[in-house]
């Protein structure tokens, strides 16, 4: 049996078919095969959260999944979050407004994690937001501005729906 396999998957709405080594992690596949370098590689053992992507809408560590396991799935990365016209979406705009990023390393994981969280919990408390991002390390902001951004985004999204 070969150690390579051809997989088909959808990333940010676009279909791809690529051959990959079966031991390649999803995050390495996204970065090296698809040139989607928005998703960052940090600790490579599931602690830092920088590589978080959405798999069929559910957040997962891109370093703790093999690319072959994503065959047939719909993946969303940070590149797929913006509005169709390319402008920042509500959550991204809230990060900008609140200085929710400085170096930007943790940002792709923060945004994907909070995208899933806010879809599931549109009216979170500050504590719930802090728990939601407890699996994402940020060494710049002290988290305060990220929490503020998440709460602003939740508020704007709720107002947009009512």
């Amino acid at each position: 049996m070969s150690n390579r396999r051809k997989i088909k998957l959808t990333v940010n709405g676009q279909d791809y078919e690529r051959e990959t080594e079966t031991r390649t992690t999803l995050v390495d596949f996204l970065r090296h095969e698809l040139d989607l370098t928005g998703t960052h590689v940090g600790c490579e053992h599931g602690v830092c959260g920088a590589c978080t992507v959405l798999v069929d809408g559910i957040s997962a560590r891109g370093c703790l999944m093999l690319a072959v396991q994503a065959a047939g799935k719909k993946i969303t990365t940070v590149e797929g979050l913006a509005n169709p016209d390319g402008s920042l979406n509500t959550l991204q705009q809230a990060f900008m407004d609140n200085h929710g990023l400085q170096c930007g390393f943790c940002t792709p994981g923060m945004l994907t994690t909070l995208t899933e969280f806010l879809a599931h919990n549109p009216d979170p408390s500050e504590t719930e937001v802090r728990i939601a991002i407890s699996g994402n390390l940020c060494r710049c902001t002290g988290y305060q501005s990220i929490v503020a951004a998440a709460l602003q985004a939740a508020r704007v999204m709720r107002e947009g729906k009512s």
Partner: protein, 292 residues
């Protein structure tokens, strides 16, 4: 920090998976991958064959009937966390799961994977022992039931034999309205616990304790039920003196030192957390303690 080469298999059925695991040399099953993938990335393990169980739909599912909860080994921790049926029959489970890693890891991590990996302080291991769990191991020759008391054979060593894989877990549900509490101490939220205690309690109409279950994690290679304390409390009126007396047994358990924490500290924590768990389970307070 990349996995070593291996031959990848993704069977669609349990018989195929069992056949691969029994036939191939140096093969490892891959469940949710939230422990095995880091070990592969670190090259702590180097299997020749990786048998991915994620395409076996028959291994996932939750069925609760007749006071027994049956869980497929590949049931995601996320599915336990968000299942209304689990919340009703095993209300402590949500509280315990809030300490398991983070949302992103619970989304992939599985019930059976956690039990097989067997971190000494794993919350789901505590839940299994607390609810008198029975595990089903499947091999080419059929199924074998393993009591949770027999599951832990040593540090990170489970009771599976060569060619066997864990396919299901059964937990015994307690009567509706029972008291429960899960107390854990870790340095950071989502870290492995230094010590953790699960507690279930049933009070009769007069407020007397009918029965109680206590399970301590983090001290030895697996969870420890406090049989003496459970016996001591049955038929007694709840009191701080009673809780203190029960918690003494937690401190008497054998404990291990590691680079960060002494055995004495673990034992102290076990006593304190046992007391707190009892107090909260009896008070029936359902306030979720999400921060460590």
């Amino acid at each position: 920090m990349k996995p070593p080469p291996f031959v990848y298999h993704d069977p669609a059925t349990v018989p195929e998976a069992v056949d691969l695991l029994s036939r191939l040399d140096n093969a490892l099953p891959l469940a949710g991958g939230q422990s095995l993938m880091p070990m592969l990335n670190f090259r702590v393990v180097a299997p020749d064959h990786l048998v991915d169980l994620n395409r076996i739909d028959a291994l996932s599912g939750i069925a609760i009937a007749g006071g027994v909860g049956r869980f497929g080994a590949m049931t995601r921790q996320r599915d336990l966390e968000f299942s209304p049926d689990v919340a009703r029959a095993f209300p402590i489970m949500q509280e315990a799961l809030s300490h398991v890693g983070h949302r992103q890891t619970r989304n992939r991590g599985t019930f059976g994977g956690s039990l097989c990996h067997l971190d000494p302080s794993a919350e789901l291991l505590n839940m299994t022992a607390l609810h008198d769990g029975v595990l089903t191991a499947t091999s080419k020759s059929g199924e074998r039931k393993i009591a949770s008391t027999e599951w832990v054979q040593g540090i990170m060593t489970n009771a599976l034999r060569a060619g066997e894989m864990l396919t299901g877990i059964e937990l015994r549900a307690w009567m509706p309205g029972h008291g429960f509490a899960f107390e854990e101490f870790a340095r950071r939220h989502g870290d492995f616990a230094i010590a953790a205690v699960g507690c279930l309690v049933v009070l009769d109409a007069s407020g007397t304790i009918e029965k109680a279950a206590l399970c301590v994690s983090g001290l030895g290679p697996g969870p420890a039920r406090l049989a003496g304390a459970e016996k001591l409390m049955a038929g007694q009126r709840p009191s701080h003196e009673l809780f203190r007396a029960a918690a003494v047994e937690a401190e008497a358990l054998d404990a291990v030192d590691d680079a960060f924490v002494t055995a004495a500290y673990r034992k102290h924590l076990a006593r304190v957390l046992t007391y707190r768990a009892l107090e909260r389970a009896v008070a029936g307070r359902a306030d979720r303690r999400s921060a460590a």
